[in-house]
């Protein structure tokens, strides 16, 4: 087996991964840095992010207000020390991207422009029209090309983390083009593989978002955190699940039911005004809007279509000029995929799986409990998103915590010994496993797509917007059955060259593991908070559950859930209030 060696190895080359790679290269240009990605980095799912990236930018705003919006938006499940670091470093990270050429929208005088976003009390969302993620990713990728220490492994698929002596020492990966299985050793590894939306049948997430990093890390003995907190975005296009950005509502769009009524007023989100009001109505947080949809559907006030119930997003009153200037991608997507023009037609939308608040448990520098292993971006749970992420915090999170993880890994790598022979034996074992279980295997009977469909149906019905004991248990049983059937998988493709059926099979394995973690954490959390709503436990329970779930995988495949207290610094738990004036508890008093 061929072996390559670097100081730092990134798994994933999206927003967080590229930012981390650049940060590490800037800390120490002598380091050798590998970016290992299963796709060319500019294909990473950061590219699909639309609305913007939050960071205090204007004199009427303050870091404390950004922190309070984030913490209350997260239903007090955020670690407040992490949030404070996040809001403080957000503006400089966004500014750094400007210096690298990101085409941010501008005020007439040439300064950065910001827009409103859901759950945010001030305008602080930096944007590049409604293709913010696309522009950020391409800016990062193009900028990364000038850093000599960065070596890319494009279209290499990681199958295992190599761990020995209490620290991570590299990965095993398939070079997809040649099919060769190789070890790449490193002194520090940063996992930046994004989320896991493809576990669900209806998602905004790209095909590549399979929870790879979450499963890899958990299999290496390191826990995942808060996996029950999964975000449904309220406005996805039916059938495709394509996202219609929250910016459409921030620019003044209305959510209306089948009677043309702005139904959010019935769900404690404020009273309708002609112009958008911050932290109110359509600019409420995503969890509350998606939950309102379910209630509205139960009342029979949605529109039935062959792709499920929908409500409508109405942009008609905004006018063609504003839509073209601020929401061109929304118009393009509607025209291309729904054959409707939002300038004069209603957009059908329904809640769609969008974002995993949970993930690899890390500290404020992206470090996990395993030596040398770091994580950043959607794959990680730092945690700044708590029980519900605010729109436009995630792109910034990729930058702030990508950079932090990159710097921390660069420091860690110095002085570490080179990987030892035992991990190379592990790598050989991994090669044998891949050959026996997949490539050279014959006689299996289960099709990947069949298992995947059954998994998606199970998690959607068991762990959707509303959950309860019985449906979660059913989903858990189904996933155990699917894990057993997965061992009997059959592949049509035994080729070495660009074997995407093999990578799909491996991805399905990752998704099954992550799905089990979601269900297990959701079963154990017998309260309702943010995006985790239990119909059998409808109240928030701070006494028992102001705590993060930590889920580990035992060697027999069973899962174990523990709890870790939430870090409260200056904002004691309070009520989440939207649609009316409230006085933030700005935390002059310390919480206990």
């Amino acid at each position: 087996m061929e072996i390559r060696s670097h100081d730092i190895l990134l798994v994933g080359g999206g927003g967080a991964g590229l930012r981390a790679a650049i940060a590490a290269a800037e800390v120490n240009p002598k380091l050798s840095i590998a970016v290992v990605s299963k796709v060319y980095p500019m294909r990473s799912h950061t590219v699909s992010a639309e609305g913007g990236a939050a960071g205090v930018a204007k004199p009427d705003d303050s870091l404390d207000e950004h922190a309070y919006d984030t913490i209350s938006g997260g239903d007090w499940m955020c670690d407040q020390d992490a949030v404070e670091a996040f809001v403080k470093e957000a503006p400089q990270e966004l500014l750094r991207l400007e210096r690298w050429g990101c085409p941010w929208n501008r005020e007439p005088d040439g300064h950065i422009a910001v827009r409103a976003f859901g759950g945010m009390k001030k305008k602080r969302t930096w944007f590049a029209a409604d293709k913010t993620g696309f522009h950020m990713l391409h800016t990062l990728f193009q900028t990364s090309l000038k850093y000599q220490p960065i070596t890319r492994y494009d279209e290499w698929f990681v199958t295992k983390l190599l761990v020995d002596d209490g620290r991570v020492q590299g990965v095993v990966a398939i070079d997809v083009m040649s099919g060769k299985i190789q070890a790449i050793t490193a002194k520090a590894v940063i996992v930046c593989t994004g989320g896991c939306g493809r576990i669900f049948p209806f998602t905004t997430n790209a095909n590549i978002k399979n929870g790879d990093g979450m499963a890899l890390v958990q299999r290496a003995g390191t826990p995942l955190k808060d996996m029950e907190f999964l975000q449904y975005h309220p406005t996805g296009l039916p059938f495709t699940g394509i996202l219609i950005t929250e910016a459409a509502r921030a620019e003044g769009g209305y959510m209306i039911n089948k009677d043309g009524y702005r139904y959010l007023q019935d769900y404690n989100l404020g009273t309708p005004q002609a112009k958008p009001v911050l932290r109110s109505m359509e600019l409420g947080p995503r969890d509350r809007l998606s939950q309102a949809f379910v209630k509205e559907d139960q009342k029979g006030r949605t529109v039935k279509t062959e792709y499920g119930s929908v409500v409508h997003l109405d942009l008609r009153h905004l006018g063609e000029k504003l839509i073209n200037a601020k929401l061109p991608f929304v118009r393009e997507l509607c025209m291309k995929y729904e054959n409707i023009d939002p300038v004069n037609e209603l957009i059908p939308v329904r809640p769609v799986v969008h974002y995993m608040m949970g993930g690899v448990s890390t500290d404020i520098n992206g470090a996990t409990s395993l030596g040398g292993l770091f994580a950043a971006g959607e794959v990680a749970c730092v945690s700044i998103n708590g029980a519900n992420r605010l729109g436009s915090n995630s792109l910034t999170e990729c930058l702030v915590f990508g950079a932090r993880a990159g710097r921390a890994a660069a420091e860690f790598a110095v002085g570490q010994k080179m990987p030892n022979g035992r991990v190379l034996a592990q790598a050989t074992d991994e090669q044998k496993r891949l050959e026996q279980q997949y490539l050279h295997k014959s006689g299996g009977q289960e099709r990947i797509a069949t298992l995947r469909d059954e998994m998606q149906k199970a998690v959607e019905s068991g762990a959707g917007i509303y959950r309860e004991q019985s449906t979660l248990s059913q989903a858990g049983n189904k996933l155990r059955e699917l894990q057993e059937r997965y061992a009997n998988i059959s592949l049509d493709d035994h080729s070495q060259t660009f074997n995407t059926e093999l990578t799909s099979a491996l991805e399905l394995g990752y998704m099954l593991d992550v799905a089990q973690s979601i269900v297990e954490c959701a079963l154990h959390r017998t309260e309702s908070r943010g995006a985790h709503q239990r119909t059998d436990f409808p109240e928030r329970d701070d006494q028992r559950f102001l705590a993060h779930s930590l889920v580990r995988r035992n060697s027999d495949g069973s899962l174990k859930v523990d709890y870790l207290p939430v870090k409260i610094t200056r904002w004691p738990p309070g009520e989440r209030v939207y649609g009316q004036e409230e006085k933030p508890k700005d935390g002059i008093k310390q919480a206990g």
Partner: protein, 256 residues
Amino acid sequence: MAEKIVLEIARYAPEKDEKPSFQSFEVPFRKEWVVLDALNHIKDKVDGSLTYRWSCRMGVCGSCGMMVNGEPKLTCATFLSSYGNGATVRVEPLRYFPVIRDLVTALSDFLVKLQSVKPWLIRKDEPPLSAGEFLQTPEQLDIYKQFSMCINCTLCYAACPVVGLEPTFVGPAALALAQRYNMDNRDQGAEERLGLLAHPEGIWGCTFVGECTRVCPKHVDPAGAIQQYKLKAALEWVKGFILPRGSEDQSKEVRP
């Protein structure tokens, strides 16, 4: 009668095939399906070895470009309905690229070309972050914005006859990207890039066919970028002959 459409798909597995051949698959004709949905249907239900790239399914990641009935297309944005019930549609890998397998082409050469134009902001000075953002008015943004919309799908390479004849030609997307930075008022690297590109494999390779602009799914205008570039290069070249060194500065001198 059930509604069907036939896809004739180019298949090629280097371990066993000498050259590509076509295989036909009948798939349901559904109005909401794009060509990519039909490929996924085949891979999931019929033949798991069918090989292609895809990811976002919303026309922005740039992975799923293929030749569809001889035209370079993003298959996630090309509806079966545009070919009609009962039609036969040919799906092939993007033209002019080496084929790795089935519908997957080699991108490594494109990445080298992309990097060769120095697609990053080049500055002579680097003020500290505390100095704030570089100012850029909406009008200044508009000057280059269109060229920043490229998703690297490489459809323009598959459309460009010069790429077909001369594989070393830097090509439309990379040249448009160079121009994206050249026209950005924050950038100071235009001269450096011009030196890299004013040669026969750079801008002078383009014979202005304009196919690149026609096929671009994001309405970038690489042909326009290259023409602007040529004009600038030509002016620089002419200036180099006619004017003595330093004359530009002298000409700017204002005499009372």
